[in-house]
């Protein structure tokens, strides 16, 4: 089973500071990484490959730093990786990203399954997997917490609000996974060393064309093709008292008193 896993490089959200005056996030100089959802998708691909044979290809779009970030994907177990770091790709919205990824997947061509995370760690819009599935005209399943190959079909157990539903999908298909599907182990040192020797390709826009199909239209990706206009992006104001006690006895006494006087303890 040949599996393509799409991964997004995101900034370390824990390290975003908020400017006190303007409530704006400070986005400069943040370390980058892959989100948990994406790592779970990759881990699941590796597991399926170990069980059924085939090959796992990781595809990631992002800044030039991807050259380093992608090593983690190769260490987790991707056999090969394609990174998309060209200036032309930057600033794409979900539509542009989906077009780019779909084009790359078509160029790779030989696949049975595409796996992605349910959402990126930063925006969690979850838009890219269904969009890519639509462009490639594939059946899809989201919020997967279990994937099994049964005969020729893929059995996917997906999360719904009040049920777990198992469906059988014909392959090729696109599945996005939630973090409950597995726990990616930290790569061993030998895997990290091996990662450096695995094939890593950087595809420029003119390499992403597909024979007999229209090439990648630069007008369809990047900042200029984005249809989303962000009017503001600010941290909401928190209005809590933040009275924190480090002395347990004092805390218990003061807090029970305060809760009583605020009337929240009476029933």
């Amino acid at each position: 089973m040949n599996i393509i896993v799409c991964m997004k490089q995101v900034v370390d959200l824990e390290q975003i500071r908020i400017k006190t005056q303007t409530r704006e996030p400070v986005m400069e100089g943040l370390p980058v990484m892959f989100g948990d959802f994406d790592k779970c998708a990759l881990e699941e691909a590796v597991r399926l490959k170990e069980e059924h044979g085939g090959k796992v290809t990781a595809v990631a779009a992002g800044s030039a730093k991807l050259k380093d970030t992608i090593k983690e994907a190769l260490a987790i177990g991707a056999d090969e990786a394609i990174i998309l770091t060209d200036e032309a790709y930057q600033g794409s919205d979900t539509m542009g990203s989906a077009r780019l990824l779909a084009q790359v997947i078509q160029k790779i061509g030989d696949y049975d399954l595409i796996l992605m995370g349910d959402g990126s760690a930063d925006d969690y819009s979850g838009e890219v997997p269904p969009r890519v599935a639509e462009i490639l005209d594939l059946p899809q399943a989201g919020f997967a917490r279990e994937i099994k190959v049964v005969d020729d079909a893929l059995h996917v157990t997906r999360d719904l609000e009040a049920a777990h539903e198992t469906i059988a999908l014909e392959l090729p298909a696109l599945v996005s996974v939630s973090t409950e599907i597995n726990t990616p182990p930290l790569p061993a040192l030998t895997d990290i060393l091996k990662a450096g020797r695995k094939p890593l390709h950087t595809w420029a826009p003119d390499e992403v064309g597909v024979p007999d199909k229209a090439g990648l239209d630069p007008a369809q990706i990047g900042t200029n093709a984005s249809v989303v206009e962000v009017l503001s992006n600010l941290a909401p104001v928190q209005d809590r008292k933040e009275i924190i006690f480090e002395d347990v006895e004092e805390g218990l006494a003061e807090i029970t008193k305060a809760l009583e006087s605020e009337g929240v303890l009476e029933q």
Binding site: L13, I18, P25, T94, M95, A98, A121, D122, Y124, S125, G126, E127, P130, R131, A133, E134, I135, Q140, A141, G142, F143, R158, L160, E161, A162, A163, H164, E165, T166, I167, A168, L169, A173, S178, E180, V228, V230, L231, N233, A235, Q238, R240, K241, E242, I243, I244, F245, E246, V248, G251, L252, A253, E254, T256, A258, L259, E262, V264, L265, Q267
Partner: protein, 319 residues
Amino acid sequence: MSGILIYSEVKSTFLGLLTRGRALAEALDQPLTAALLGEESAAWAGEALSHGAERVFVGDSPQLDVFQARTYADALAQVAAQAEADIILTGSTLRGRELAPRLTQKLEAGCATDVTDLAVEDRRLITQRRALGGKTLSTEARTSPKQVIAVMPKLYEAEPGGDGTGEIVEIPLELEPSATRLVESKAKPSGGVDIEAAEILIGVGRGFEKEEDLQLAQDLADALGGAVGCTRPLSYDYNWLPDDLTIGLSGKICAPRLYIALGLSGQIQHTVGIMDSDVILAINKEKSAPMFKMSDYGIVGDLYEVVPRLVEKIRGAGN
């Protein structure tokens, strides 16, 4: 002509969106229409009319029996074409989150999911959603003529309205085989407690070492007459509690009088579920836990030591 089309597989969300849709349709001076797909929801057509839909499109096909986003997007695109709708509103349920982007791509439209506010300004549709892992709220508009917006399922309450003179239109759907077969569907076990209605809510997190230890939280809930809810790892990952006791983005949004956070770090995906509590108290052994920044009161300490003492104090105060 353009218009607004409402679709959701969840009835309360469908009628809530119609209610909100009436105001948006008026502000944009566009007609409001509704789509009902599949056998089950066809029965809601009358209520769609009494909630202001000018036309309700009802479509069914055996291909709609199992949810496959490709098929549902195809069906909805056919309805949108007949309704001449450019704006499609749906619920950001788990299915809605699969469907909305797929339909968006089919229509080459603009999209937003998990939308927490929807308004019209200068005749443009403005949405709000959380960004950067919930650290910020992003207010957005789209420049595409067509838009598909998935709105948080319980954002709008349903209220009948409109002149009720709309019509029901049966629409024949032409759908390809869905390539999807249902193997089994298992209802999730329920916690049997409506944590959204709780006046006093105790939230438990990974600070609890063992499932049995949750009794400590239950003791506190009993002393206060409250309910116990949890962070996502405790339900989804550990199966210590049923999924429907999860508080937060992928669980319930609660607004109790008092929320007590025990051994949970206060990640934004959790705290969006308790943001509107009147008073918040946190107990956490790490002084740097983000939960303290969202709390009115806090005790830095081991929950195994603090919670039994708190129960004693409350029981004492009650006497």
